[in-house]
């Protein structure tokens, strides 16, 4: 699968995340369960694609997020989506990621991402509320949503990134 297709699929996920997800989440949990599906896709890219791919996708879609929902500061999603994807890519580069490993990595990465965003906003005094409150209020509830998403789409997404890798490596082999 070419990179264009992958980008298109993540773009569709990004659009649905903002436009469809608010209707699927019960309204009383609207500010507690927050989808970060594009971020999960970036982590998938770092697990089954390459770290550079994850960095590029993370920065690209982070920037898109920053522009679309321009509120206080720009750049937080841009930098940290790319950075976390890249770091996980380095950590697990030589390891073949199984389902359990992938899900746990996605879980920890989601907590890390939400926490980092919280602290960025805290540093600039853009958010009120203590960290333990934020953890209970939205970081942990939305973690479950991310895990369910990752579990549901694990097989097709893994195939998508791995076929891209094979496509890529066979391509370069032919060139040689």
């Amino acid at each position: 699968m070419s990179l264009n297709r992958i980008v298109l699929i993540i773009l569709i996920i990004f659009v649905l995340e903002g436009a469809l997800m608010p209707w699927l989440i019960p309204s009383s949990f609207g500010d507690r369960i927050i989808p970060h599906f594009t971020f999960v896709m970036v982590i998938f890219a770092s697990l089954y694609g390459s770290r550079h791919q994850a960095l590029a996708l993370g920065m690209g879609f982070g920037l898109l997020q920053d522009i679309m929902y321009y509120g206080h500061v720009m750049g937080a999603h841009f930098f940290f989506m790319g950075l976390i994807g890249y770091l996980i890519g380095i950590l697990l580069e030589r390891k073949k990621a199984t389902l359990m490993l992938a899900i746990s990595v996605i879980g920890f990465a989601s907590i890390g991402f939400d926490s980092v965003l919280y602290f960025i906003n805290k540093v600039f005094k853009l958010t009120t509320g203590s960290y333990p409150w934020a953890l209970i209020q939205y970081i942990l509830p939305s973690l479950f949503l991310q895990l369910v998403f990752a579990l549901l789409f694990y097989v097709p997404v893994r195939k998508m990134f791995e076929s891209r890798k094979q496509f890529h490596s066979s391509d370069s082999a032919e060139e040689m």
Binding site: P22, L55, G71, H72
Partner: protein, 283 residues
């Protein structure tokens, strides 16, 4: 690569944190393009969800109808009263030689808008709507629903606008201006400023309330319109608690907002009439 990213990150935060007046054209283009697609999804999804909501509400519809009938009767009585007062007011304004911009100061127009997407960031809950600078929306315009105040317009592109909801009220940052407020039926005596939103309590904080202020718990808070930046008379919420503030000289209140920000569909952008500068200078 990572280093360049970090540098861009610092530069972007530095440039955007002070609050900019307008967006650059690449931002506008991206926002309009994605916003156009999201609009096609959010509304049908909302219509489907609304259908199931209606099914659920079918049993309560009789009671609601009864209430609405009473409200309509009350409205008809008030309308007669209102027409008399309005004509009287107009006559007095004519006699006192009001300038035309003074007369039109409170002629707000309500522009209907559809929500197209909602931010997935808990620290920055932005709502995008499908009207933009082409329709005359400007930065800092108030956005309301039929229930009350939602927030203020933060950024405008030709076809969309980003609304910062009241949850981002924060006296420590430059992101959101404080809003002056008063209490329904005590408009001339009460005054307070909406400065913060307490995320843990999920309540708006109103501070700088004078000691002899007649407001009490359960009153409806509305915008006062002082300063003529934000329109007056927009409902915000009810006062839940009222106590002496931190400094001890003024009171502060927590306000339970009327509007639930989840699953919004239709909102109104409140346009305040433009003050003609030339006319103001020549008496």
């Amino acid at each position: 690569m990572l280093m360049i990213g970090f540098l861009i990150f610092i530069v972007m935060i530095g440039l955007s944190i002070g609050g900019r007046q307008s967006l650059t054209w690449p931002e506008k283009f991206v926002k309009d393009a994605i916003g156009g697609i999201q609009q096609m999804i959010y509304r049908p999804a909302g219509a489907v969800a609304g259908f199931f909501q209606d099914m659920k509400n079918l049993n309560t519809i009789y009671e609601e109808n009864e209430q609405l009938r009473m409200l309509a009767a009350q409205y008809a009585r008030d309308k007669v009263e209102y027409n008399f007062v309005k004509n009287e007011n107009k006559r007095l304004q004519d006699e006192l030689d009001f300038a035309s911009h003074q007369k039109e100061m409170y002629d707000y127009t309500y522009m209907i808008a559809q929500v197209i997407s909602v931010s997935n960031d808990a620290n920055n809950r932005t709502i995008n709507i499908n009207v933009g600078s082409r329709q005359g929306v400007e930065k800092d315009m108030a956005v309301v629903t039929v229930d009350g105040l939602v927030g203020l317009v933060k950024a405008v592109t030709p076809f969309t606008a980003s609304v910062t909801p009241y949850t981002e009220l924060n006296s420590l940052s430059t992101a959101f201006n404080a809003i002056s407020a008063t209490v329904l039926n005590k408009e001339t005596e009460s005054f307070g400023i909406l400065t913060d939103y307490d995320a843990e309590l999920e309540r708006i904080m109103m501070t700088k309330i004078g000691e002899g202020d007649p407001m009490k718990e359960g009153d409806t808070v509305i915008t006062s319109g002082f300063g003529n930046i934000y329109p007056r008379g927009l409902q915000i919420g009810t006062i839940e608690t009222l106590k002496v503030g931190e400094v001890g000289l003024t009171y502060e209140a927590t306000i339970d907002p009327f509007v639930d920000l989840n699953q919004l569909t239709e909102v109104f952008v409140v346009k305040i009439p433009q003050i003609n500068e030339d006319e103001e200078l020549t008496p």
